[in-house]
């Protein structure tokens, strides 16, 4: 009955006398917003039958989604977000380690960045409906399209990160290698964070409404993954910048993710329920544990490596969780309709 009371409207039925006055008090005369929720059986509702579900606070078209679910596939696209973040932040780590004389760590950062960006580019192209037309991404430059900006960023970053890694491993052209290392360190942050704008610049409620916090979640997640790679691959005595990066990144990620969920309010539900909720809780637990491990047990090779591996896994799980939460919010019309109705009613219209 809630729905009926909320809407309080009366249907004017053409060709029949219509009850519109204040005496129109029965539910039937006010009409029932149908089809409601999942639709099945809604049209069979008879007068006097109570609406069963309190979710009938909103109407939808047979429970069909309002927006289209993204066609982006798992693991391609969330994998790309994770690997792109790992690559970009690894270049940050490599540049920092190079300047401060942590040679082994710099090498891990450069090689890791090249490996991650290569894999992520393959994932990205594989996800296209027409992979053969990948080059069309560079046909125009559009700041209104995060994917266009990202394509150009990747086109600049990939070769530079590659040059840094090749020079590091082969030892040729060390001067150019240093320039490439610093260049990749400059472009890497863009590669690691633009993907937040990419998913938020959609009509997907659980992504779009989090657009103020998502870039910090992605930056933190990327930094913790890259720091984790350093902790995993290098002895802790030679990985201090990696520990700094991991601690900073994990802290930023944990805080930003909390703020994201607080901002989303009801729209946080897909992040907190079901398999996706479990994945994100495990990711948070792993990140917090690894943070403690990196800070307290930093001298132990085993603890340090375990913390690093946990951070990498947590970063991947975070991206997959955020991806799936958005997909779920696109599939269920309630996230689109209820939030928009609230916004519209808040403006005093209707």
């Amino acid at each position: 009955m809630r729905a009926v009371k909320r809407s309080g409207r009366r249907y004017a039925l053409a060709g029949l006398a219509v009850r519109t006055g204040p005496d129109a008090t029965t539910a039937e005369s006010r009409g029932v917003p149908v089809p409601v929720r999942r639709g099945n059986g809604a049209h069979r509702r008879r007068r006097g039958e109570q609406p069963m579900v309190p979710e009938a606070e909103f109407s939808s078209y047979y429970g069909r989604p309002v927006i289209k679910e993204p066609v982006w596939r798992t693991p391609d696209v969330p994998g790309y977000f994770f690997l792109g973040g790992l690559a970009g932040a690894s270049s940050v780590l490599a540049a920092g380690a190079q300047l401060s004389g942590y040679r082994k760590l710099a090498r891990v950062g450069k090689v890791g960045a090249l490996g991650a960006i290569s894999l992520s580019t393959v994932a990205l192209i594989h996800d296209l409906g027409r992979p053969g037309r990948f080059a069309n991404m560079l046909r125009v430059f559009k700041p209104s399209s995060p994917m266009s900006v990202g394509s150009w960023l990747l086109a600049a970053y990939g070769p530079v990160a590659g040059a840094a890694a090749v020079s590091e491993v082969t030892g040729i052209l060390p001067g150019a290698g240093l320039a490439a290392t610093l260049g990749a360190g400059l472009l890497g942050p863009g590669v690691a964070t633009y993907t937040a704008a990419l998913i938020c610049d959609t009509a997907v409620p659980a992504w779009h409404e989090g657009h103020r916090e998502m870039p910090y979640v992605f930056a933190g997640s990327a930094a913790s993954a890259a720091g984790g790679l350093g902790l995993l691959a290098v002895h802790p005595a030679e990985a201090e910048p990696a520990r700094d990066l991991a601690v900073l990144g994990a802290t930023v990620e944990l805080i930003a993710k909390r703020q994201l969920l607080a901002r989303l309010g009801d729209l946080a539900e897909p992040y907190e329920t079901g398999t996706t909720g479990a994945i994100l809780r495990v990711a948070e637990f792993l990140t917090a544990g690894a943070l403690a491990g990196a800070v307290l047990g930093g001298r132990s090779r085993a603890v340090s490596a375990l913390s690093g591996a946990s951070l990498i896994a947590a970063s991947a799980m975070t991206r997959f969780g955020i991806f799936e939460a958005g997909m779920a919010s696109a599939r269920d019309p309630k996230y689109t309709i209820v939030a928009q109705r609230r916004r519209r009613d808040g403006r005093g219209m209707n």
Binding site: R9, Y11, L16, V18, R19, T20, E28, S29, G31, V34, P35, G39, H43, R46, F58, S59, S60, Y61, R64, V66, I67, K68, P70, V71, V92, L93, A95, G96, S100, D127, L128, G129, R130, P131, N136, M137, R139, S144, S145, P146, M147, S148, P189, G190, T193, Y194, A197, D201, A203, V204, H208, H211, P215, Y216, E238, P241, D244, P333, I337, Q340
Partner: protein
Amino acid sequence: MSADPAGLAGYLEHPPRMGFFTDTSICIGCKACEVACKEWNAVPEDGLSLTGMSYDNTVGLGASTWRHVAFIEQPVSAVGDGAEGVRWLMSSDVCKHCTEAACLDVCPTGALFRTEFGTVVVQDDVCNGCGYCVPACPFGVIARREEDGQAHKCTLCYDRLGAGMEPACAKACPTDSIQFGPLDELRERARGRVEDLRAAGQDQAQLYLNDPDDGIGGGGAFFLLLDQPEVYGLPPDPVVTTRDLPEMWRHVAIAAAGLAATAVALGLGRRK
């Protein structure tokens, strides 16, 4: 009057903005629009199944469905004798050809473009199937076709417009529920129609996407509805996502600058 998307897109001289006014109050659910669209545009068959959703076995707009007639059955009671009745709502949905079109904004290849008529069209020979337009659309209109991996949607019969003809769906509509013409004229006509309907007791009659100040700058295709938009599967308050993009870029820039500053701090901090 209405915004000039074609002028903003760079057409120095262009015809008036053309669009659809779909008056659902006189839709009879014949689906001639769906058939005419499929036939004229050679849109492939995309499923033949019974859904149980009233007379709607088309389900929704998609890569191979550019017109979709929605059927809604609402139980209502007649007055006095207590007899039951059903109010049957029918509405032919289509791409809205938004003034501020998210699909066009986010398309990274330029495959989606603004025509001289102010409409939004996909170029089949450019689209690489990235899929970004699909979740960007606040109405769930555009989609990627499995068979060719590319995005497709209503072109407002760009080819017919170029030859001075009206779109196939409007041509086929037997009741003029689908009206085609210069957008300014359609808006004027729609205002009169909704006033008439309200005066006749249809107090739920409302125009949808006719307002140039709404979240998409008004639709090139707009509607007269007899119930709330969500009853027809339409979003109640759509806002083009790119309105928030400057703020997104600002936060991305701050986050990226933070990461870059971290590199510097790591470089200048501890010394080995």
